[in-house]
């Protein structure tokens, strides 16, 4: 110990003297410069050098940034008005008749499926359902602007995206009925769809968890060099989760080609947006993460299409994330476990259903072009209903998955401890066959 102190003492003493000398010299140097310089500008009117914000300048005004400054409020991009009239012709994406009729048919098919599955839940035939009423244009408009190889990570109210990519009515029904034909093997609640071939990652209930995953997947796609992006859908409520924050920040700092597509439908279950945030919606957050952002009329399928197409181009070509906020309105209840009349007026709902609906807007456009009329409407309605009812009946009849599916896919391999538990389960059920719904399930 004594030796350590002995070693340290001269070191410290020398340091003090040295530092004092150095400081003194520096001071003299600065002073000489101060006296001899003609102008003090270079020293005192320099740009800030703080590493945390390199592009800012100094100001002598004490001024807070006001979020309500009208200059900063982001406008809603639209292409057609509420009567389906194109406002500026050059913005009409001029999609071919076939594509538009297909879009319209699928939007109404989704609508028909929603009605029937909603009713079937009311009758206790499926356990749960969530409709897509009012948000159809956000699904089909955005899906049509993507490439099939772009990976989609959604929340749960994006069934139209799947339908656009080719998910069949049978696929939807099998999942909702959790029968043995469900690709998800009946393990999740209804509307938690997924499809490997359609590059639509299986939905989970946990809100916003898909968002940082989308950033990661986009980063991996970028490295794989296939020129694809990730489309990540989420609601205005989910955007309040911590995962949304990390997703935006990761995507921006790591240059991930991902489109964050927010469906701002005014409500998160019963919580209106004024209780969700105080800023200018979700789009304004893009700037704070260094992300390009845009707000679009979510009931205008062409506006959504144009915005998504452009966003995709930016994401893929420039390897940077884009934030899209589609303004819309949730016309239906949050889910079958919710009665929205408790927290909002019927009048409000009716306005959006009758006066500003994405489906009727597209129909006006088609009728103007002479691509659709009342007869076709009647005929298609009938046909769509028939198709849905057929798939519905088939899905209802099918057996549920075998009991073994309870134990598989926990890990890739069927681990010994799960094999053991599977055997225990089977042996038990064999002893009490009448206490379990074995007849509903396929044999192992």
């Amino acid at each position: 110990m004594a030796s350590t102190t002995w070693l340290l003492r001269p070191l410290v003493h020398r340091n003090v003297a040295q530092i004092a000398r150095q400081r003194w010299f520096t001071c003299i140097k600065t002073l000489t410069r101060f006296i001899s310089s003609d102008s003090t500008e270079n020293i005192f009117k320099d740009k800030p050098r703080y590493p945390g914000a390199m592009n800012c300048s100094f100001t002598e005004k004490l001024e807070f940034v006001d979020p309500m400054d009208p200059q900063g409020i982001i406008p809603v991009y639209r292409v057609m008005d509420r009567q389906g009239k194109i406002i500026i012709d050059s913005h009409d994406p001029k999609l071919p008749e076939g594509t538009i009729v297909d879009m319209y048919k699928k939007m109404t098919l989704l609508n028909t499926m929603d009605r029937i599955l909603y009713e079937s839940q009311r009758q206790g035939r499926i356990s749960f359902y969530m409709t897509n009423y009012g948000e159809e244009a956000t699904h089909f408009g955005s899906a049509a602007a993507l490439e099939m190889e772009d990976l989609i990570m959604g929340q749960y109210r994006e069934a139209g995206v799947l339908m656009w990519r080719g998910f069949t009515l049978a696929d939807f029904m099998n999942q909702c009925y959790a029968n043995q034909h469900d690709a998800g093997k009946g393990r999740q609640m209804p509307v938690h769809y997924g499809s490997k071939e359609l590059n639509f990652v299986t939905i989970s209930s946990t809100l916003a968890t898909q968002m940082p995953q989308a950033s990661g997947a986009a980063y991996a796609l970028k490295r794989q060099g296939k020129g694809n992006c990730v489309m990540c859908y989420f609601g205005d409520g989910a955007a309040s989760e911590g995962d949304a924050h990390s997703a935006f920040n990761f995507a921006a700092t790591l240059d991930a080609p991902v489109i964050f597509f927010c469906r701002n439908n005014g409500y998160a279950i019963s919580t209106p947006t004024r209780e969700q945030y105080r800023g200018d919606g979700i789009a304004c957050r893009g700037r704070s993460y260094g992300m390009l952002a845009i707000r679009v009329d979510g009931n205008d399928i062409f506006a959504v299409y144009n915005v998504t197409k452009k966003a995709r181009e930016i994401a893929v070509n420039e390897n940077r994330p884009v934030l899209v906020e589609a303004m819309t309105y949730r016309i239906g209840h949050h889910s079958t476990s919710d009665d929205s009349s408790v927290y909002r007026s019927l009048k409000e709902v009716n306005y959006w259903d009758k006066e500003d609906h994405p489906i009727s807007r597209l129909r006006y456009y088609m009728e103007d072009k002479g691509w659709w009329d009342q007869d076709q409407e009647q005929q298609w309605k009938k046909e769509a209903r028939l198709q849905v009812m057929q798939a519905f009946a088939d899905a209802e009849k099918a057996l549920k998955p075998p009991v073994k599916e309870l134990f598989l896919d926990v890990y890739k391999e069927f681990t010994p401890h799960l094999q053991e538990q599977y055997k225990e389960c089977v042996d038990h059920v064999a002893k009490y066959p009448h206490e379990y719904p074995t007849e509903l399930h396929a044999k192992d």
């Binding site: 110990m1 350590t4 102190t5 340290l8 410290v12 340091n15 003090v16 530092i19 004092a20 400081r23 001071c27 002073l31 006296i35 990976l151 990570m153 469900d182 690709a183 998800g184 093997k185 393990r187 938690h192 997924g194 499809s195 490997k196 990652v201 299986t202 989970s204 946990t206 968890t209 968002m211 940082p212 995953q213 989308a214 950033s215 990661g216 997947a217 980063y219 991996a220 796609l221 490295r223 794989q224 990730v230 911590g242 995962d243 924050h245 990390s246 997703a247 920040n249 990761f250 700092t253 790591l254 598989l408 896919d409 926990v410 890990y411 890739k412 391999e413 681990t415 010994p416 401890h417």
Partner: protein, 383 residues
């Protein structure tokens, strides 16, 4: 100008004062280092290097963190989709585990992320779901909890809930864990039992450099998400001759390190080295022959190896740093009790951290050190 000079003088004086106080601080510190005041910094175990079998080929002296770097080097080299990321990994990591990897493999493969654990794990799941291999680092296991949702609700259930359409099996999350002498609440925790309750993830903890390399490579290549805990006190302290070749050690297989006939000792991570000393003490002072088992994988764990051992010895002592209640020792004890009821000759002993937050200055009294374990050996032998 006079005022300026005056200010400068004050500044100078304060600098000298600062230096003076630094001087006295240094004096005090030098005193402290050699005084018993920092007893807590001394580890409560001795690391005994093991020998890799000659069949494993050429070896190189590596400490624990170098063995991990070597494993990651091989992972990056053998699979071009592999990426490594986390807080501060780019310059080599706060524990030096990723030194040199960025220079060797490029900044798109070894990179820093923003400071957000939920983001890191979520990002990693996404990388893995897109078919690439992700090695994510959480700076301390204590800070893994913000990512608990992503690990428990997402990573663990990804394959199951999609009916095997999608998975994130390419994800490995590394996190330094365990006591380090002075880490207090948030640089000491052993959090494995939180994850032991999560079907779908694997939980792995190595005890030495040879183990660390083999188990990390196995974890990275395992088709399931793995949480890989690294006892941080071993990073520099544990040095072994580690095979330089690319090798994996099996997951979900415990390892019998010492054969014995009177008592089974089960532990993992650093605690293995404590138990090794306990085994020696028991032999020398009590003439008790201990069978020492390193569990290595917490989930899914190797029931057969542990139960076979207990059937032979009839007695079991489990020791872990994590606190007693809800610790993984409870799971082992109840399974062994169920399977080996007729072989057990004494109650199963659990020597664990106390049911308190991990303390700072009181760490020596908190840890299940060799003397507490030794006392439990005496108890179980004389039952």
């Amino acid at each position: 100008m006079a005022a300026t000079t005056c200010r400068l003088r004050t500044l100078l004086q304060s600098t000298i004062l600062l230096k003076k106080s630094t001087n006295s601080f240094l004096k005090n510190t030098s005193k402290a280092i050699s005084s018993p005041g920092l007893y807590r910094c001394r580890s409560t175990f001795t690391f005994v290097p093991e020998k890799a079998p000659p069949s494993e080929g050429e070896t190189k002296k590596m400490n624990f963190f170098q063995a991990l770097t070597d494993a990651m080097d091989i992972a990056l080299d053998t699979d071009p989709t592999t990426v490594i990321f986390g807080e501060d990994v780019a310059f080599g990591g706060v524990f030096r585990c990723t030194v040199g990897l960025r220079e060797k493999y490029g900044k798109d493969r070894v990179f820093n992320t923003p400071l957000s654990e939920q983001g890191i794990v979520g990002f990693g799941i996404g990388v893995a779901a897109a078919g690439s291999t992700a090695i994510a680092e959480i700076q301390f296991a204590d800070y893994i909890f913000p990512a608990f949702d992503q690990l428990v609700n997402e990573a663990a259930k990804f394959r199951y809930r999609s009916g095997n359409l999608f998975d994130c099996g390419g994800l490995t999350v590394r996190a330094p864990c365990g006591a380090v002498g002075h880490g207090a609440h948030y640089h000491s925790q052993s959090v494995e039992s939180f994850f032991a309750h999560v079907p779908g993830v694997k939980v792995v903890i190595p005890r030495s450099p040879i183990q660390a390399k083999g188990l990390l490579l196995a974890s990275v290549r395992d088709p399931n998400p793995v949480v890989f805990f690294e006892p941080k006190i071993l990073y520099r302290q544990a040095v072994e001759d580690v095979p330089v070749k690319d090798y994996s050690l099996p997951l979900s297989e415990a390892e019998v390190l010492e054969k014995g006939s009177d008592l089974t000792l089960v532990g993992w991570g650093t605690q293995i080295h404590v138990l090794r000393e306990v085994s020696k003490l028991a032999k020398e002072q009590l003439g008790v022959s201990c069978e020492l088992i390193d569990l290595r994988t917490i989930l899914p764990w190797d029931k057969d190896t542990v139960c076979q051992s207990v059937e032979k010895t009839g007695r079991l002592l489990i020791a872990h740093e994590a606190c007693h209640t809800g610790g993984f020792g409870g799971e082992i004890a109840s399974t062994v009790q169920d399977r080996c009821f007729l072989s057990l000759e004494a109650p199963i002993q659990r020597v664990c951290g106390w049911d308190t937050p991990f303390p700072h200055i009181l760490e020596p009294f908190y840890l299940p050190d060799k003397w507490r374990c030794f006392e439990a050996v005496k108890k179980v032998i004389s039952f």
